[in-house]
C-alpha cells in the first residue's frame, strides 16, 4: 500500500478512468516504479466491466457480461487469480436456439452437438480447427503494440515481419485460404461451408456481435477472426464467467494496481487535461483541484479524451477532422431481468441453461435485424446473446431467484421517435423474442432494466455508447486504430496517451490496451 496522503497533487502518471484498461495500465506503471493516480468519475471501478445491483437483491454484469477474450498472459502477469479472480464457468458452450426445434450446441474445442444436417456436423470440426489455426497465427497481433509504417524503428519492422512470417508459416494451403477469406463477409464464407441455418446463424452472430455490421457487410470475416483470435489466447479456453460477475475482473485488477502502489480515487471526474509548453502536464478536476503529472493516460474513448479533455485547440485541424469521423455510434443494447425462478428454455436440458444462449436462428434473421438499424429503427426480431449467470453463480441473486442478462442487437444510438418513447415497446419486443424460446418467462419477471446505447453512453461515459469505444472495422483496426496520428497509444500531444478500447486491440474485456499503453509510456520516458 502506498503511504501517500490523499492531498498529494504530484504524480509520475495520472490515469483517467478506472475501467479495466485504466486499471491494467495503472498496475503495469506502478509495478515499473512509477507513482500512479487513477481518477474514476463514478462511484465504482471497472467501467463497462462492472457488477451492480439492478433490482433489490439482484446483481448483474451491467456492461460486458461474459469474458470472451481475457488475455491469459495478462492474468498471469498481474496475478489476478491471487487478487481474487475466480471462475464460475470456463470454456462455456454456445447454444444456438431454434424455433420449435432442438438447439445446436458448439463446444469450446470445436465440438458440435445437435440434430441437424449430418454434412454440417461432419464439416464443422474441420472448419473450427482451421479457424483456430488462423486465430493462433493472428493472436500475437492482438497482444502487441501495432507497428507503424514510415518510422525507422527496428521494432516496427520486426513486428510487421513477424506477422508476415506467422501467416507464411501456416503453410501454403492455409495461407492461401486466410488471404482469400480475409476480406470476405461472414455470409458468403458461412454459406460456402454450411447449409444449416442454425449453425450459420450462431457463427454469423460472433462475426457481428458488438459491431455496426450485418453478416453480409464487408469485413465481417475479419471481425469473426478477431473474436476467435482473442479467444485463442485466453486462459479460459474460450468464453468464461468470473465468479461475482465481470466486476470481479475489475476488482482483481484494482487489487493488483493497489498492491503495486497505485492510488485510486473514486467520484473524481476530470474536467480538463492541463497543457504547458505543448505537453500534457496534469489534469484539472471538476472540483477545481489541479494534479500535475509527467504523463497523462486516458482510458476514455478517443473522442472524449482528445476533443473533450484535451480540446481541439491543442490539436491540428486535420487530426481533429479524422477524430470526428471515427465511428463511435453504439448498436447494441443490454437487457437485465430479475426472475423469480429459472426460466425453462424449450428442448434445453436444465444443466445447459448456464451456457451462452444465442438467438440468431439464421443469417437472414441477423440481416433482417440489422436492416432496421440502418434506418434508425430497432430490430423487430432482435438477435440476442443471453446468459443466466445465476445458474453457475447463485451469489448474484437471492436464494432460488435468477438473473437474465442479454446483449441485444440491433438498437441504434438514435432511434426514430426517441428512446424515451420507444423504450417500453422495445423491452416488450425483446421479452417476446425470449418468450418464443422460454414460453413461461413472462410470469417469472420481477423487474427489468433496459440499457440503450444512450444509457450505456451515460453510465459508462463512452461517446455514442459503443461497446468497443469505436467500431471494429478494417479502417479502424490494428495500425490505424483509432485514427492515424494517435496510434501506438501515443497522441500528437506529448505526454498524453490513450489506453482504452478505442486503441488496439479494441473492445472486449482484455486489459491489453492498458498494458501496451503502459509499456509505451515507459518506453517514451526511457527514450527522452
Amino acid at each position: 500500500m502506498s503511504a501517500v496522503s490523499p492531498a498529494r497533487t504530484r504524480y509520475d502518471c495520472v490515469v483517467i478512468g478506472g475501467g479495466h484498461n485504466g486499471l491494467s495500465c495503472a498496475a503495469f506503471l506502478a509495478r515499473a516504479g512509477r507513482s500512479v493516480l487513477v481518477l474514476e468519475a463514478s462511484t465504482r471501478l471497472g467501467g463497462a466491466a462492472v457488477t451492480r445491483e439492478f433490482a433489490p437483491g439482484f446483481r448483474v454484469s451491467a456492461g460486458a457480461h461474459l469474458l470472451h477474450q481475457m488475455s491469459a498472459q495478462l492474468i498471469g502477469e498481474l496475478e489476478l487469480e491471487h487478487h481474487g479472480l475466480q471462475w464460475a464457468a470456463q470454456g462455456m458452450s454456445t447454444v444456438s436456439l431454434a424455433h420449435g426445434a432442438a438447439p445446436l450446441t458448439l463446444g469450446p474445442e470445436g465440438q458440435i452437438e445437435g440434430q441437424g444436417i449430418a454434412q454440417d456436423l461432419r464439416a464443422y470440426p474441420a472448419f473450427a480447427t482451421q479457424m483456430r489455426r488462423f486465430a493462433a497465427a493472428l493472436n500475437p497481433v492482438l497482444e502487441k503494440t501495432p507497428p507503424r509504417l514510415g518510422t525507422d524503428r527496428w521494432s516496427d519492422r520486426l513486428n510487421l515481419l513477424g506477422l508476415g512470417w506467422r501467416i507464411r508459416r501456416l503453410g501454403r494451403r492455409d495461407m492461401r485460404e486466410l488471404l482469400r477469406i480475409g476480406g470476405m463477409n461472414a455470409y458468403d464464407l458461412l454459406t460456402e461451408h454450411f447449409s444449416s441455418p442454425l449453425l450459420q446463424g450462431a457463427l454469423g452472430f460472433d462475426a457481428v456481435l458488438g459491431t455496426n455490421f450485418g453478416p453480409r457487410s464487408p469485413g465481417t470475416v475479419m471481425t469473426l477472426l478477431y473474436r476467435l483470435a482473442a479467444q485463442f489466447g485466453s486462459s479460459t479456453r474460450g468464453v468464461a464467467l468470473p465468479k461475482g460477475g465481470l466486476g470481479a475482473v475489475s476488482d482483481a485488477l484494482a487489487g493488483a494496481a493497489r498492491k503495486a502502489g497505485a492510488e485510486i480515487r473514486l467520484e473524481t471526474p476530470v474536467e480538463r487535461v492541463l497543457v504547458a509548453d505543448d505537453r500534457a502536464c496534469g489534469v484539472r478536476l471538476h472540483s477545481g483541484q489541479s494534479i500535475s503529472a509527467g504523463a497523462v493516460i486516458s482510458s476514455a474513448d478517443p473522442k472524449a479524451s482528445l476533443l473533450g479533455l484535451v480540446g481541439a485547440e491543442h490539436l491540428d485541424a486535420g487530426f481533429v477532422r479524422r477524430l470526428t469521423h471515427l465511428r463511435t455510434r453504439g448498436l447494441a443494447a443490454k437487457l437485465h431481468l430479475a426472475l423469480e425462478d429459472l426460466p425453462m428454455f424449450a428442448e434445453l436440458p436444465p444443466a445447459a441453461h448456464g451456457a451462452r444462449l444465442v438467438v440468431a436462428p439464421s443469417l437472414n434473421y441477423l440481416e433482417h435485424a440489422y436492416n432496421h438499424s440502418k434506418y434508425d429503427e430497432y430490430s423487430q426480431a432482435p438477435a440476442l446473446e443471453i446468459t443466466l449467470p445465476t445458474v453457475c453463480d447463485p451469489t448474484l441473486a437471492p436464494r432460488g431467484k435468477h438473473v437474465l442478462s442479454a446483449v441485444v442487437q440491433y438498437a441504434p444510438y438514435q432511434v426514430r421517435g426517441g428512446w424515451a418513447q420507444e423504450r417500453t415497446a422495445f423491452t416488450r419486443r425483446i421479452i417476446d423474442t425470449i418468450a418464443q424460446f422460454a414460453p413461461g418467462i413472462r410470469a417469472l419477471i420481477r423487474a427489468s432494466e433496459l440499457l440503450t446505447p444512450q444509457d450505456l453512453e451515460q453510465e459508462f461515459r463512452t461517446t455514442g455508447g459503443h461497446w468497443h469505444h469505436a467500431d471494429l472495422a478494417l479502417d479502424q483496426f490494428f495500425m490505424v486504430r483509432p485514427v492515424p496520428g494517435a496510434t501506438q497509444y501515443g497522441t500528437p500531444l506529448a505526454g498524453f496517451y490513450l489506453c482504452g478500447a478505442g486503441c488496439h486491440p479494441g473492445g472486449g474485456v482484455m486489459g491489453i490496451a492498458g498494458r501496451n499503453a503502459a509499456r509505451q509510456v515507459l518506453a517514451q520516458a526511457a527514450r527522452t
Partner: protein, 402 residues
Amino acid sequence: MNESNNPTSHFRQPLLLTPFHDRARALSQVDSFVPWAGYTTVDVFTTMEQEYFAIRNATTLYDLTPMVKYRIAGPDANRFLNRLVTRDLRKLKVSRVSYCVWCNDAGNIIDDGTVFRLAENEYRLCTAERQLDWLLDSAIGFDVQISEVTAEIAALAMQGPTSCAVLKQVGLAGVERLKPFEFGNFEVAGLPIMVSRTGFTGDLGYELWVDPQQANALWDALMSAGRSRGIRAIGSRALNIARIEAGFLLPNVDFMSAEGSIRIGTGRSPLELGLGWLVDFGKGHFTGRRALLEQQRRGLRRQLVGLDIAGSKPALNALLYTDRTGRKEVGSISSAVWSPTCKRNIALAMVEAPHFEVGAMVWAEVYLNRELVWERRMCRAQVVEKPFFAPERRRLTPPADF
C-alpha cells in the same frame, strides 16, 4: 444586377461578373479577360507596360472583388484564428490587418491572406482560394460562425504613389493618417467606405471595400478625381510584375496549396517559402506547429529565394543547376520577370540546401524564342535579398503628396 449573377442561369455563363464589370468592359481596349475564382476579370486593359508604370508612377485601380472573403464571428473567433494561422493574432487590435499563412497538419501552406479585425469578436479573412471546408474543420471545438461574403463586398485595390492624394481629393479626410496594415471607415459623397492600407504591389496603396450597389459610383468618383494624377485601371498582368518585385507569393504559382496537391512531397512549409517571420512558435498551438518545429530541428532542405539573373530574358520556369554544365539540379524558378523599375532580371525560385544562402551562385537554364528558333542559354544567377523593390513611400505616414 447582371443576368449572369442570377443563380438559375449560371449555366449560361459560368463566370460571374463583378460589380465593376461594366466600367472595366468600357475601358478594355484589347478585350483580354481571364477567369479568377469564378469571376471574369481583366488581364490587360491597354498594354501591360503602360499599366505597370502607372502602379509605380501614378495610381491604379484593380478590381479585387473575386478575392474570397470570409466573415468570422463569435466568442471564440480570436482563439479560432490564432489556432488557424501561424502568426500571433492574440494582440491584433480592432482596425488592424495582419498578413498570415495557414498550414495543414504536415506544416505545409494551404493559403495566405489577410485578417481584418472588424470588431472585438468579428473578423474578415481574405484569401486567394476558396476553403470553407478547411475553415469549418478548423472550427470544430470553437464557438465561431464562418460564412463566405465574397459577393456581398465589392473591393478595389488603389495602388501607386499618388493614391493617397487622390483619396484625399475625393474627400476621404484623414486617410493619410492610416498606417500600413491599418484600416478605417470613411465616406465618399455620402457613401460609407472602408479603406485599408494594404496591397499586393509593395508600393504606397490602399484597398477599398464597399457595398456592391455603390461600386460604380465609387469607381466614377475615383476616376474623375484621379485624372490629373494619372489614374489608370489595370489588369492582373501588370500587377504580377509589381508583386514579383515586392517578393509576394502566389498560391499554385510559387507554392501548391497543401490541401489541393496530390503528389507526395509537393507541399511547402512557410519556413521553406522564406516566411519564417510569419511563424510564431511561442503563441501556443496552431495547426502544423509540431511539424514545423520538427522541420526546423532537422534543418531546411530547400527554400524559396530571390534570384538576380544575368541577361535580360525572364527565366520563366527555368531549372537551376550548380554549374553551367547542368549536371546537378538544385531547384527551379516559379516566377520570373524583367523588373522595369529595378532594371534587373529577377525571379522567385525554390533552391535546395545549401545553395539558398544569400550570395550563393547557381545557373539557370533559360530558353529563348528568337522568331521561332529556340535557344538554350545557361545564365548565372545569384541568390539575393527580397524584396527586390521596397520604396520608402510604402511605409511613410502620412504619405508624401505626389
